[in-house]
């Protein structure tokens, strides 16, 4: 009966998604999400059939990143090169979309640029990006992520 319910999710799967949401949110925003945010993340996985039908190998990569505390955000651009929309990219994007609708994420405030300090701010973002890309490249190679 339960398997016929589209909203049914076995407890282990729910727990996995909960851990995944917390970890990926932390990688992207350096803080943990609220319970409501995690609920929305799990609900999206329940409702969007494409997210449930992702390639098993890619899902194992996501799982390994979460279990081994790897730099998901640094690894993701490298995975994107071969697979245009890797499972990790899809899940990080889902986190981003949910965060954009959540006022507790000032990263998405639209009318608050740095003004004269823009180039400094952008330069520092690029330097951090280079560091994360290097770290991501090493971790991807070390763990053989695909």
């Amino acid at each position: 009966m339960a398997e016929q319910n589209p909203f049914f999710m076995i407890p282990d799967e729910r727990e996995t998604l909960c851990t995944e949401a917390r970890y990926l949110h932390c990688c992207l925003f350096n803080r943990y999400p609220t319970d409501n945010f995690i609920d929305a993340y799990i609900r999206a996985h329940t409702d969007i059939s494409d997210l449930r039908a992702i390639d098993a190998r890619q899902l194992r990569t996501v799982s390994l990143i979460v279990v081994c505390n790897l730099d998901a955000v640094g690894i993701e651009p490298w995975l994107r090169i071969k697979v245009k929309r890797h499972a990790l990219s899809a899940k990080l994007l889902l986190i981003a979309y949910l965060a954009e609708c959540d006022v507790r994420h000032p990263e998405f405030v639209r009318h608050n640029p740095s003004g004269r300090l823009a180039l400094v701010s952008m330069g520092s973002a690029v330097l951090i990006a280079i560091f994360r890309l290097l770290r991501g490249r090493i971790q991807k190679a070390w763990h053989g992520l695909v």
């Binding site: 990688c27 992207l28 925003f29 929305a40 999206a44 409702d47 969007i48 494409d50 997210l51 039908a53 992702i54 955000v73 640094g74 993701e76 651009p77 994107r80 245009k84 929309r85 990219s89 899809a90 990080l92 994007l93 889902l94 981003a96 979309y97 949910l98 965060a99 954009e100 609708c101 959540d102 006022v103 990263e107 998405f108 405030v109 639209r110 009318h111 608050n112 640029p113 740095s114 003004g115 004269r116 300090l117 823009a118 180039l119 701010s121 952008m122 973002a125 690029v126 951090i128 990006a129 994360r132 890309l133 991501g136």
Partner: protein, 522 residues
């Protein structure tokens, strides 16, 4: 059985333009006439985002996330539940150069047709455009009075500037739309350096009311264009349809789809199927005008002629997209209100006059942009607030002529298949980027992407008009090659496409064909 002098199928730009010429003369408009079941409940995108209302922004069934797993599956502008109904009609598939499907689309069953999702740029074609692209059996003069009439009906914002030679006249021009600081900078820079460049830059001509016009309010510029089709002050064909219905001078049969027609010497018999009940109703008319959009009109004609194996020419305007960066404007405060189309340009290289539209991505969610930036997503997110102030996206449109290989046909189940193997990269990109560099605008050729065929919705050429049409072509008065009483009035009859989009011209041509129909003495 109901009898009408004129039956127009479709309420998109072509259908309503023809209906305006034929109102009060025993005219009936037939369409499915879908309207949105859901509207965006906030006054602006900023207000919606600040509300924390996930369901309103991302959709009750996560419609805005349609591309999260498979990028490009749904056109960015057609994802939201308040817009998606626009493309709920007959499905079609486009096959690209590799022979693989590169785009899944659908026709429109919406009242107002595809104009509910258009970019609102309306341009006239002039004789130079038609001479450049070739194959047109009529001159631009033949459309002149219809351009004037339609422009006055719609209300078009623009300015007489350096683009005048390219864009030509506009009747009763309204003040131009406001533009974002990056576009203001680009335009100012152009004005000081115009003598050093082959680029011509100016304001676009937009079907947007920048001030109240004909009892309609001015547009709000609330950045909700990707979330709702209910935009007061932005013209769609639905406005004209509503006016025609309110005036009571046309009969409106909503909820019906034309499934077959039979032409007799004295009349045309039409089978209409009700979309709810599938019940079939028959009506008769002296003249049938098919204006259901290029693809659907071509499909109807092919089905009616039982020409399943037959393929027709197909023309599209797939644009090249290039992000442009203006470093001087990085960090500029982003506007609270904006419209996607900012400026328009043309560059005359080797006699080819391409059209470049400059867009500001204010109506997109920022998350839409993250996976397109070659950076970790957190860095991309840190860059965006400063980057967007100095960023525009160029959409480059080239002239498009029929190519032997690009064809439309019907599969055995009656669905539309488009094969579009011939698609060349934009050859003049380096010249354009060099011209823009002089204005302080930078980009790299490798950042350019080719939109897949079918992406731009500028479809034409399946039933091209000719002075002496052969099979599956049309006369210059819209009649099918072998017909006295059945006419095609939409983009399907345009034989080739200049770089400017064809929306206004297909309206003017539909109005011209309607007048030709009135003039015929049978």
């Amino acid at each position: 059985m109901d009898w009408f002098n004129f039956v127009i199928v479709g309420s998109g730009p072509a259908g309503v333009a023809a209906a305006r010429r034929l109102e009060g003369k025993g005219t009936c408009i037939v369409d499915i006439g879908m309207t949105p079941e859901r509207t965006f409940p906030y006054a602006s995108l900023s207000e919606g985002l600040a509300s924390g209302d996930i369901e309103s922004i991302l959709g009750p069934h996560w419609e805005m996330l349609a591309n999260v797993v498979e990028p490009g599956r749904v056109h960015a502008k057609l994802r939201a539940p308040g817009v998606r109904y626009v493309v709920s009609g007959q499905a079609f598939q486009v096959y690209g150069p590799s022979g693989e499907p590169c785009l899944y689309g659908a026709g429109s069953h919406a009242a107002g047709g595809m104009s509910n999702a258009w970019g609102a740029q309306l341009f006239r074609y002039n004789d130079a455009d038609l001479a450049e692209v070739g194959n047109w059996p009529i001159n631009a003069d033949a459309l002149e009075t219809y351009y004037v009439d339609i422009e006055a009906h719609i209300g078009i914002a623009g300015e007489i500037d350096d683009m005048y030679d390219f864009l030509g006249e506009t009747t009763c021009m309204l003040p131009p739309t406001p533009i974002v600081p990056a576009a203001v900078y680009l335009l100012a820079r152009y004005r000081t350096r115009r003598s050093h460049t082959k680029l011509r830059l100016g304001r676009s001509r937009l079907a947007i009311l920048t001030q109240p016009y004909r009892s309609y309010p001015a547009y709000g510029f609330n950045e909700t264009e990707f979330f709702s089709t209910e935009q007061l002050g932005l013209y769609t064909a639905r406005r004209t349809l509503d006016e025609l219905r309110a005036g009571g001078r046309v009969t409106y049969l909503g909820g019906y789809e034309l499934v077959a027609y039979r032409e007799y010497p004295e009349f045309v018999e039409i089978d209409l199927q009700q979309s709810d009940s599938n019940a079939v109703r028959m009506i008769c008319t002296k003249h049938l005008l098919l204006g259901c959009g290029t693809l659907q009109t071509a499909r109807l004609v092919l089905l009616n002629k039982q020409a399943i194996g037959k393929s027709l020419p197909f023309i599209d305007h797939p644009p090249t997209l290039v992000p442009l960066f203006i470093p001087r404007m990085f960090g500029t405060t982003l506007p609270v209100r904006s419209f996607p189309v900012q400026l328009v340009a043309t560059v005359d290289v080797h006699g080819q006059r391409d059209m470049i539209s400059f867009y500001y991505p204010g109506a997109l969610l920022w998350s839409d942009l993250l996976a397109d930036m070659p950076l970790p997503m957190d860095a991309a997110l840190k860059l965006l607030p400063n980057l967007l102030g100095g960023m525009l996206v160029a959409q480059i449109w080239e002239t498009s002529r029929p190519a032997l290989e690009n064809r439309l046909s019907l599969a055995t189940n009656g669905s539309i298949r488009i094969d579009y193997p011939r698609r060349s990269p934009y050859a003049r990109l380096n010249s354009l980027l060099t011209a823009l560099r002089l204005l302080g605008v930078y980009s790299l050729p490798r950042l350019a992407t080719l939109a897949p065929p079918g992406w731009g919705f500028h479809y034409a050429g399946c039933l091209p008009m000719r002075h002496r049409p052969t099979s599956f072509e049309t006369h210059t008065d819209g009649r099918l090659w072998d017909s006295q009483r059945v006419r095609a009035i939409d983009g399907s009859v345009l034989p080739s496409l200049p770089a400017k989009n064809h929306s206004l011209t297909l309206m003017a041509n539909a109005a011209r064909i309607a007048d030709e129909t009135l003039r015929c003495e049978y």
